[in-house]
């Protein structure tokens, strides 16, 4: 009996030692010399890096609203606490100016910082892990070519155990791919390019794929849509009803490259940012590749009710300048507000007056009875850089009360989406805090 106890104790000690080694052994550095040798030098390298930095949309997270590009400090409010993106300019004190090539590649591929500490997966290294070492180095070369900015990001506010960075090693073991994305020989070169851009660069799944209990992207439900920071990232799987299965290639191409597609509305919120900062800078061939790949993702039926009504009765009966004469909404607060604040740009028949970007017909945002993104757009406004100049919608958060924005949202959903919705002032109050 005593002997058995000793054996058991020994086993516990061995396992504990193993776990301790796994958690605390210093992280090793990858060998990047082969990739370094393959890369161009000088401006050619920086240009390649600039394109890839945009494709990976680094600026979206590493810049605050109105802040200096790549200086970090953007807050991510997560269920476990708030973390802040770091400064990734080449400033030696507050940025990554002292990082070696190998350290930079290790951060992108394994989520480990210069000092060997684990980073948090709000930094989408689970996606960037699939990036080639050459591309990672080109991104570093571009970031290091930019002006340095001295800016210390605020300290993370995380409770125990989430503030113990080594815990992430378990998570990494389970959820982080261990090498660059391998081309699928059964697929075309275009599809493979699209897969690489979507998975390793644009990291679409980080928002559009639901997360599991461990907060990792659940690829069993790839692109089925998710909600984060008060916005819905819609289902972008090939499901015809709840996804993008009914979109034409041209619509997808336009939406991704211009932020607007005829009959599908305009990208706003985080998707608007993704287009503005990243996708609109990609070559037409790369956008086509993304479309090819995204369309091939198997359909996922989501429970989300943002299902587009093709020809809502009220919309069809309206002209650009006047709503249909019937309708219960007549003389209501929602209609009154729309008439005064919205109609001069959006019009009443969904086609937009001021600009095609103001066309609401077919947009999921005006077809979602939850009104999640609609309320956010009304509160925060929207803007997009286009070849015809910058298109903007003002933010109405300070102009209208919760009661008014709720009434306006319900009116818009009824008129433009044919939806019966019940958005309350409390919903708007909640949305304001997000």
């Amino acid at each position: 009996m005593k002997r058995l106890g000793l054996l058991f104790l020994a086993a516990v000690v061995v396992v504990a030692a193993g776990v301790a080694i796994f958690l605390f052994k210093p992280a090793s550095l990858p060998d990047v010399s082969e990739a370094q040798a393959k890369l161009p030098t000088g401006q050619a390298l920086i240009d390649r890096g600039e394109y890839l930095t945009r494709a990976a949309d680094c600026v979206a997270c590493h810049t605050t609203a109105g802040g200096k590009p790549y200086a970090g400090g953007l807050a991510f409010k997560l269920p476990f606490g708030t973390i802040y993106s770091p400064n990734i300019t080449a400033d030696k004190d507050t940025g990554i100016g002292n990082w070696s090539d190998a350290e930079f590649v290790r951060a992108l591929h394994q989520g480990i910082d210069k000092d060997g500490q684990n980073l948090y997966p709000a930094f989408s290294y689970a996606a960037y892990a699939q990036m080639t070492t050459e591309d990672a180095l080109a991104i570093k070369a571009y970031l290091f070519s930019l002006p340095t900015i001295k800016a210390e990001a605020p300290k993370n506010e995380l409770g125990f155990p989430f503030n113990q960075r080594y815990v992430m090693r378990f998570w990494n073991l389970l959820f982080v791919p261990s090498g660059p994305l391998q081309p699928d020989p059964a697929q075309t070169a275009e599809w493979n390019r699209g897969a690489y851009l979507v998975e390793a660069m644009a990291h679409c799944g980080e928002c559009h794929t639901p997360r599991n209990l461990m907060f990792a992207v659940d690829n069993g439900k790839k692109f089925a849509g998710a909600e984060l920071q008060g916005w819905k990232a819609y289902n972008i799987s090939s499901d015809k009803k709840t996804g993008i299965g009914n979109w034409t290639d041209q619509q997808l191409f336009d939406y991704l490259s211009k932020g607007h597609a005829e009959g599908r509305g305009s990208a706003t919120g985080s998707m608007g940012e993704a287009v503005d900062f990243s996708l609109r800078h990609l070559t037409p061939d790369d956008i086509k590749s993304i479309v090819t790949y995204v369309k091939s993702v198997p359909p996922q039926t989501s429970t989300d009710n943002a299902i587009v009504e093709a020809e809502p009765a009220a919309l069809t009966a309206s002209t650009a300048y006047a709503p249909s004469a019937d309708g219960a909404a007549q003389d209501g607060l929602g209609l009154k507000l729309f008439q005064g604040a919205c109609a001069s740009c959006h019009g009443w028949n969904g086609e937009g007056i001021q600009t095609p970007y103001a066309a609401l017909k077919g947009s999921r945002t005006v077809n979602d009875p939850d009104g999640t993104n609609l309320i956010q757009v009304i509160l925060k406004g929207a803007h997009m850089t286009t070849p015809q100049g910058r298109q903007s919608m003002p933010a109405f958060a300070n102009a209208y009360s919760d009661v008014e924005i709720a009434a306006l949202s319900n009116y818009v959903l009824g008129h433009f989406g044919g939806k019966e919705s019940a958005i309350t002032p409390e919903d708007v109050a909640t949305a304001r805090k997000q």
Binding site: A322, A343, S344, T355, Q388, G389, P394, A399
Partner: protein
């Protein structure tokens, strides 16, 4: 260089494509009848017409005008609807301080263009985006009705 047709005249302007049409009209061309109000398409003071349709020039990047012809308050009186509206405006002395009135007249004449006999509701729908801090709304409504009968 951006080519524009303003009040029937072809013009080219050397401005950034992002510049709002309002700035081009006022600061580059010198047509100061169109007013700057809120700058975010919420007051209507900057309304001009593109191919006879009312738009808010303060948020309209000049590059998005394209080949559409621009009509401003300086020339709207030469259109049949604009003439009727301006006559009625003078007849009923609609204007008080006047700052919003260029925009009011541009919206009202566009309304009359597409709808020769507007009801109260049509007027509300068309004119709600044009704000008047002097509160001349009752006279605006009356003048539109009078213009419709002219």
């Amino acid at each position: 260089m951006i080519a524009l047709n303003i009040n029937g005249e072809d013009r080219t302007v050397d401005v950034p494509e992002d510049m709002p049409l309002l700035w081009v009209l006022r600061d580059v061309i010198g047509l100061t009848g169109t007013k700057f109000g809120c700058g975010i398409a919420q007051c209507g003071a900057c309304t001009v017409q593109l191919d006879g349709r009312p738009v808010r020039s303060c948020v309209l990047p000049v590059a998005s005008v394209g080949t559409r012809s621009i009509t401003t308050i300086e020339a709207v009186g030469a259109t049949p609807a604009g003439k009727k509206i301006q006559d009625a405006w003078l007849d009923l002395e609609v204007i008080q301080c006047g700052y919003c009135q260029s925009g009011q007249i541009m919206s009202a004449s566009a309304l009359l263009n597409r709808n020769p006999d507007p009801s109260d509701r049509d007027i509300d729908t068309a004119m709600s985006g044009n704000i008047c801090r002097c509160g001349t709304y009752p006279r605006i409504r009356a003048a539109i009705k009078q213009a419709a009968k002219a």
